[in-house]
Structures are given as C-alpha cells and as structure tokens.
C-alpha cells in the first residue's frame, strides 16, 4: 500500500504566553520571554508522537506513513526523538519563527501532496494553517496553545494520536469544524472577543446510533448535519412569512445548502419563505429586519470547543437582537458528536441578566437530528 503523507509542524512558541498570564503568544513573545516563559509545545508534540509511534507499530495490517516536516524545533527533532525514520524536511525555518514560517511550511506540505496536516499549537497556529489549506486538506491539532476555541484539536496528546490512526486506517472521516481566534485588535482595545475565522476539515469521530436491537451503526458528521438541515427546512416551510436569522458555523451553513442559497460561513444571513433576504448582516441591518418582521426565529449553533451559543464568533448578535427574538424563538442546533465534546452550553452576551434568562432552568433543547432534540445542560 502507498504511504500516507502527513505534514507535521510545531509552533515552538505556542503556549508560552499562557504560563505567564498573557492571552496569547503571537504578538507578545518578547514580553513572554521577559516574564520567564519557556517553550512547552515540543513536550506536547513529543508525547503525541511517541504514542502514535507505539500505536502504528501495533497496526495490522501495517500502515505506512511518510512525514513531511520542518527543520529542528519546528518538527524534525520531535519526529526523530519519537523514533520515526521516514522523515523528509521540506522547510527550514528562521531562528525565531513567525506565522510566516507556519504558512510557508504548510505551502510546502501541500505541494508535496500531504494527506493530513498535524500541528502542535493553538488557535493562532490553526488560523495560520487554514489560511493556506483552505478546506482542501484536513488538519489536526495537538493542543498546546494558550487559546483553543477551535474544533480542530484532540482533547489531549494521547487522544490526538488515536485520531491520527483512525484517519490513516479510514475509520474517521474528515468533517468541517469551526476555527476561532481572539480578535487581537479588539483585544488590544480592552475587549475580549473571539472571532470565527474559518472552517477547516478535521478527522472526526462518528456518531453512534442504534439502528437495530443490537446493531450500532456509525453515521458521519456530514450525514447528521444533513439530517438536522432537513428538519430545519421543514420548520422553515411550516412557518411562512417568518424571518429566520441563520447564525454562523458549519452546521447552520448546511441549512443553506438545502435551500440552495449561498449561506455565509462566518456571517448572519436572513431567510424568509426559503429565500435569502439578507447576507452577512450587522446589528443595524438585523434590527431593521426585526422592525419589519414580527415573526422571527434565530438559528444558532454552539461555536468552537467551549460550547458558547452566544458570545464567541457571533458578536453581531447583540443583546438587543436576542431580546427582541425571545428565548422561545431561538433554535439551537448541534450534532451529537459536537455535544459530546461540549456537554455544557454557555451564553455570554455581555449582559448577565440576559445570559441567565437564556440559560433558563438549567437546560436548553438542542436539535440533534430530524424531529429529534436533546435537553442539554446550560451553565453561566
């Protein structure tokens, strides 16, 4: 069998800011070093690779991997230490690496036909990689950064290694997930705002469903999203002359596919009677639509890895908009696999009273399939 190619890179400075109380490392390396930060990413990478090496040795039939990586601390050192030999250095980084090194390295990986990009870093690294991969090649992160709101990370190094094996053996199919990062400009102005920056493919565990008495079938994330979308289409059909505000994220975007409209991934779009009536709306335009349409529904999905339904990646939906829609008109959608990663849902509109109202009696119904909802715990 032909070897799968994995592009592997470490952002050597990832995570350094966290230990010294900074909200990231990208723009603050000098400050982090000054505060005594030491590199930690290579330790997390090492843990993952050693585990992966052990798992791959035990695979029957054998799985061949060809590594494409960067020189020294950006990848080659860790692969060598873990015992991998089929390693080709395709990029030599600068002494002090920056986002440009990440992007250039990923460019080389793609040129060389990488099937998967495994990286060690945080949200910033994920964002830089997505800028190059653009949903073409799946990516997977070893969690090592300060911020990890994005859905591309394994929960820990060991689990990340298992996901790589699942991808290589074909048992885990890639699905699209959200990539988020701190809006650094707003942050410098003193505001904590997490922005949805992109969508990326990542190998994802299938959802188990009981299809017969003792037969458990696995359905892919794409199947489950399509099922949720089919149900939302029925709701849109059954609610004529109603304004549907469709929030950001890949799950909600699938609804657009069913309506045959070009739903923006990162923005809020409006639909009435199945027709697109506004796209990538800001607060002002949403409020204007709400003035004209007394019947309204707001469709949201938890964004990122922490289960925020509001307050991360959808800041266009201001407290006033939420209030005018009303809790009863909010439809939350999420796949069971996503809920398994974010078992508690949160609201952070910036107004604690509104957050409490949204959290309700501690549970909110979430659409998880066709005519199928689940009560999910809420937390303030």
């Amino acid at each position: 069998m032909t070897a799968k190619r994995i592009g592997f890179l470490i952002n050597p400075i990832a995570g350094m800011g966290g230990r010294v109380g900074l909200k990231g490392t990208d723009d603050a390396l000098a400050r982090a070093l000054e505060l005594g930060a030491r590199p930690t990413a290579h330790l997390r990478a090492g843990e993952t690779l050693i585990r992966l090496h052990g798992l791959l040795e035990r695979q029957v039939p054998a799985v061949a991997v060809q590594w494409l990586t960067c020189s020294g601390p950006m990848g080659a050192d860790a692969l060598q230490a873990a015992g991998f030999t089929a390693v080709e250095v395709v990029y030599r980084g600068a002494k002090t690496t920056t986002e440009n090194d990440t992007k250039a390295a990923v460019g080389r990986f793609l040129e060389r036909g990488a099937d998967l990009i495994l990286f060690c870093g945080g949200d910033g690294t994920a964002r830089d990689i997505c800028a190059i991969t653009a949903q073409e090649v799946p990516i997977l992160g070893v969690p090592a950064g300060v911020k990890m709101y994005s859905g591309v990370f394994g929960v820990n190094p060991a689990r990340t290694a298992e996901i790589v094996v699942g991808f290589l053996t074909g048992s885990l199919a890639p699905t699209s997930v959200d990539v988020l990062d701190l809006d650094e400009e707003k942050y410098r102005q003193g505001e904590w705002a997490v922005r949805l920056c992109a969508s990326a493919l990542t190998p994802y565990e299938a959802t188990f469903t009981q299809s017969a008495k003792a037969l458990i079938a696995a359905s892919t994330e794409a199947d489950v999203k399509a099922e949720i979308a089919a149900y939302l289409l029925e709701i849109i059909r059954d609610n004529p002359a109603t304004l549907f505000l469709l929030g950001p994220g890949s799950t909600v975007r699938t609804i657009g596919d069913g309506l045959d409209i070009d739903k923006t991934l990162l923005g809020i779009d409006a639909v009435i009677d199945g027709r697109l009536t506004g796209t990538d709306l800001n607060e002002g335009r949403i409020l204007a639509l709400l003035d004209r349409h007394p019947r309204r529904k707001l469709v949201l999905s938890p964004i990122g890895a922490q289960g925020f339904v509001l307050g991360r990646g959808n800041l266009q939906i201001t407290p006033e908009i939420v209030r005018r829609c009303g809790r009863a008109n909010i439809i939350v959608v999420a796949t069971p696999a996503k809920l398994a990663r974010t078992p508690v849902l949160r609201f952070d509109t910036g107004e604690p009273e509104l957050d409490a109202e949204l959290a309700g009696a501690g549970y909110i119904p979430v659409v998880i399939g066709h005519r199928r909802r689940r009560l999910v715990k809420t937390q303030l």
Binding site: V60, E162, T169, Y363
Partner: protein
C-alpha cells in the same frame, strides 16, 4: 477457512432431486420465457447436506454456548414448547378458518391475554403487535388517539431518557412525533430537574425503559410518573427488560398507562434470527378502549359448558397492527412456558436473572470499570477498556469469541464510552458465569501485556476479524446469475 457458497460449489449437470412424473398434459412455455440457464446452482443431494451441515456447525446460539448479549435476554428456550407448537391442531390451523372451528386456539389466546395482564398489572392486553418495536409504535398511536379525543392535538413531544432503548426514538419518528431526549443523572436515573423543565402541555408521553439500558431500576419512579401525569402526559413502559421484574412487581400498579412485553425475550421463544417476535401490549383502564383488535373475549358458557370465545375489537381501537391475529406460534410457546413455571416460577426466574447479573458485575468490576456501580437488575454495563490499557470494547468482544463466548452488546447505551452490556439471564449456572469471568480476567491481563493479541482477535474462529468499516461503507453486490459485480461507495 471460509465455506464456499452453493454457487461456487455448483457444477453443471449435477442433480439433487428427481422431479415427480408429470400428471398433467405437457404444454410448452410461451415464447420468450424459456431460458437455457436459469442461474440456479446445480449440486448433488450429498453436496447440499454437507454444505448446510457445515454452516450449521459454525452457528452459535444459546444451545451451543453462553450468550450474554445485553438487552436481548438470550435465555434457554425449553424444547417442550417447540413440541407443543408443532401439535397439528395449532400448527395446521389456518388464519382464515371460521373462529368457531378453532375454539382451542382462541381459548389459548384468551388465557395468554389474561396472564400477561396479571403479570404486568394492566386492565387488558392485545396480542396484535408482532414485535417489540411494533408494540412501541402501537402504544404511541394509542396515546395520540387518546389525546386527540380530548382535543389536545398540540401534544407531539415524546420524552425519551438517554438510557432508553434505541428503538424508542425510531418508533416515535415512525409515529410522526417529535423526540425530546432527557439526560440521565450521576446514578443512572432520569435527571428529574431536566424532566421538570421538559414537562409542559406539548408532552404526549414519556417512554420509560424499565429497567433502563444500564440495567438500573428508576429509583424515584413514582415521582417521575407523577411529573409526567401532572402535565397531562401519559407514561409508556418499554417492557423489553421485563425479565428482571416478572412475578416480582407489576408496572401497571405503579401508574404506567401502557407497556409492551417481548414474548421472545421474557417468555422464552426463539429469537436472534430476525423473528418471529411478538410484542403484546398491556393497557390501563383509561387506555384499554384504544387497543388494536381483534382481541379474544369470553362469554361465560351455560352450566357445565366451556365459555364461548370470540374475536372483538374495542370501541375506540386504533385498528389492526398486523394481518390476522399476531404470531400465533409464538403465543403457544409462551403460553406453555408461563403455564410450566407458574407464578412462583416466573418470580424465581426474575430473582435468578438479577442475581446472576449482580454476581458478574461484582466479579468483573475490579477489571472493567462500571460507571454506575450500584445494585443492578438483569443486566449491567461496564467499560471494555481495563484500567491502564488502550484497547477498545470491540477488541475485548472479539477476543471473547476465542474463549467460546458470544460477545456482550457493544457501544450501547451511548452514554457509557466503550460500553459492554452484559445480560447473563437466569438459565446459566454458576460454573458458566465463573468461566466467563475467568475469560474476562485473562483478557484484561492480555489487554495490558499483549494488547495486539486483542486488536487482531479473534484467532480461533473460522472467520477472522472482519473489516466492519469497509463492510458498512463499501457494499459489494454480486448477481449470481450473471456474475456481475456492483460496488457501492
């Protein structure tokens, strides 16, 4: 080694049977209908006998070994019930025969209805549903009819705990209703705070698997039932796990409005081969009029005469759920089984089913984590990943086959990662349970010392591990006549 298919064994010209002499005038087939080759395999009788005997010897069933498949109640089915079902009076009666010509059959059905009603604590029972899931669907249709008659057509939500049988949401979808899943709490009970949040005037019913798929009895069941009744909803019991309760408690007396029984589980009729099943439905007084018909009713006979039996359909019945009268052959077997055991025997069965499951839980819990480690009913759920190992439940199950045991149910319920659901049933003795526990112990040791032995298991079976992912994603269809192959995926 794989046994070839009959098509692979076929050799042109071989013959297994002689057709009887023609006793009607010979007449040619219409033009264009005759084929030179009809694609049927050609084998001698001995080839056929050896082929099917070889296959039968590779079969695994309760009659060949321990079969702890959780949620399926794979207990031993006494052979005498097979003999009784084959009595010509039962086996040869025809469903279109006038009912008055088969009074014995009607008497048997009537008695079975009465017994099941008594065992479950219900006012009436219909034998119509031909499977457990059809019993669920029947119940949902009845509850919808009940609410509709009261003008409450806005009730379309069915509350289903996440430890319920997976067929419950499927039946709800089939009935055109909406599912609202209720989480479990840390003891494996329904999270009552969530249930409270869900109870409103849109609730049609709660579907309560009793005991649930964790093998646990709902500790605050009275409060759960009150909450749902309090908002105007009904409570349906999934009685598929009745093997823990028969003869011990009557769910109807707790306030359950409806419950189906699985005759092919609790009442010992063959299953696991896709049928025939039987899922009779018990109803409380307020729902009995909606039961599907026909139901057998008895008119007391004159002095010293036997009662007269007849078919009758309740006033507000939702109608038939199957043609004719349900799976009659299954009724005969279950009737004989209940009659042999009597009330005390049924109760002892439940006790032993619960005892066996608790015995195994306690024997295995040091090796395989049990997330809800409390007194269980007829089954329990542990995790197929011994502490410190990284094998999966599937690996443990595959390795069990090398020890001659059927694997437990894998990956269900979904709320327990790496779930192994183990239901030993009452018909297994202590030696078998000990042998199973010993095998699980050896496997736990292997999981740490030689995990690849598990990952590549089974090693001793005629067919080694199948690639289940490939099997599900890439179907290969072969037309035996033309030999054409179609690959999907």
């Amino acid at each position: 080694m794989a046994e070839p298919t009959v098509y692979e064994l076929s050799v042109a010209g071989r013959q297994g049977v002689d057709l009887p002499l023609l006793d009607v005038p010979e007449s040619p087939l219409p033009d264009g209908l005759a084929r030179a080759d009809n694609g049927l395999p050609e084998l001698a009788q001995l080839d056929v006998v050896r082929h099917f005997l070889a296959l039968s010897q590779r079969n695994f069933g309760v009659d060949t070994g321990f079969y702890p498949l959780g949620s399926c109640t794979m207990k031993y089915n006494p052979k005498i019930t097979e003999e009784l079902a084959r009595l010509p009076g039962f086996a040869r009666s025809h469903p279109l025969q006038p009912p008055e010509t088969v009074p014995g059959n009607l008497a048997l059905m009537h008695q079975l209805q009465q017994w099941l009603a008594e065992i479950g604590g219900f006012a009436a029972v219909s034998l119509q549903p031909a499977a457990g899931a059809q019993g669920e669907l029947t119940a949902l249709l009845m509850m919808r009819a009940y609410h509709a008659e009261r003008g409450e057509t806005g009730r379309n939500q069915v509350l289903i705990p996440d430890a319920a049988h997976g067929t419950n949401p499927a039946s709800t979808a089939m009935a055109g209703l909406d599912v609202l899943e209720i989480p479990s709490d840390s003891r494996g009970n329904i999270d009552r705070q969530a249930l409270r949040a869900a109870c409103d005037d849109t609730v049609l019913a709660l579907m309560l698997t009793l005991p649930n798929t964790l093998g646990l009895f709902e500790e605050e069941i009275a409060e759960v039932i009150d909450l749902v009744h309090g908002c105007g909803g009904l409570v349906y019991g999934d009685g598929a796990n009745m093997n823990a309760l028969a003869g011990v408690m009557r769910p109807g007396e707790l306030g359950l409005d409806l419950m189906h029984y699985n005759l092919h589980k609790t009442f010992a009729t063959p299953h696991g081969g896709g049928g025939p099943g039987s899922g009779p439905l018990g109803a409380s007084d307020r729902l009995r009029d909606y039961l599907p018909g026909p139901i057998v009713v008895a008119k007391p006979g004159a002095a010293l005469e036997a009662p007269e039996y007849a078919f009758s359909t309740p006033d507000k019945s939702i109608g038939r759920m199957c043609t004719y009268f349900g799976n009659f052959g299954v009724f005969v077997r279950s009737h004989a089984y209940i009659r042999m055991l009597g009330a005390a025997g049924l109760r002892d069965n439940s006790y032993h089913a619960v005892l066996n499951a608790n015995y195994l839980r306690v024997k295995l819990r040091e090796l395989y984590p049990v997330p809800f480690d409390r007194l269980n009913m007829h089954e329990f759920v542990c995790q197929g990943r011994p502490e410190g190992s990284d094998v999966r439940a599937l690996d443990v199950s595959k390795r069990l086959m090398d020890f001659g045991f059927h694997p437990p149910t894998n990956y269900f319920p979904l709320i327990v990662p790496e779930a192994l659901m183990i239901e030993p049933t009452e018909t297994e003795n202590k030696e078998t349970l000990d042998a199973f526990a010993a095998a699980m112990g050896s496997i736990a040791e292997e999981a740490l010392a030689t995990p690849e032995r598990l990952r590549t298991a089974p090693h001793e079976t005629p067919v080694r591990r199948l690639d289940e992912v490939q099997a599900a994603r890439q179907l290969v269809l072969i037309d035996p006549v033309t030999g054409r192959t179609a690959v999907e995926g």
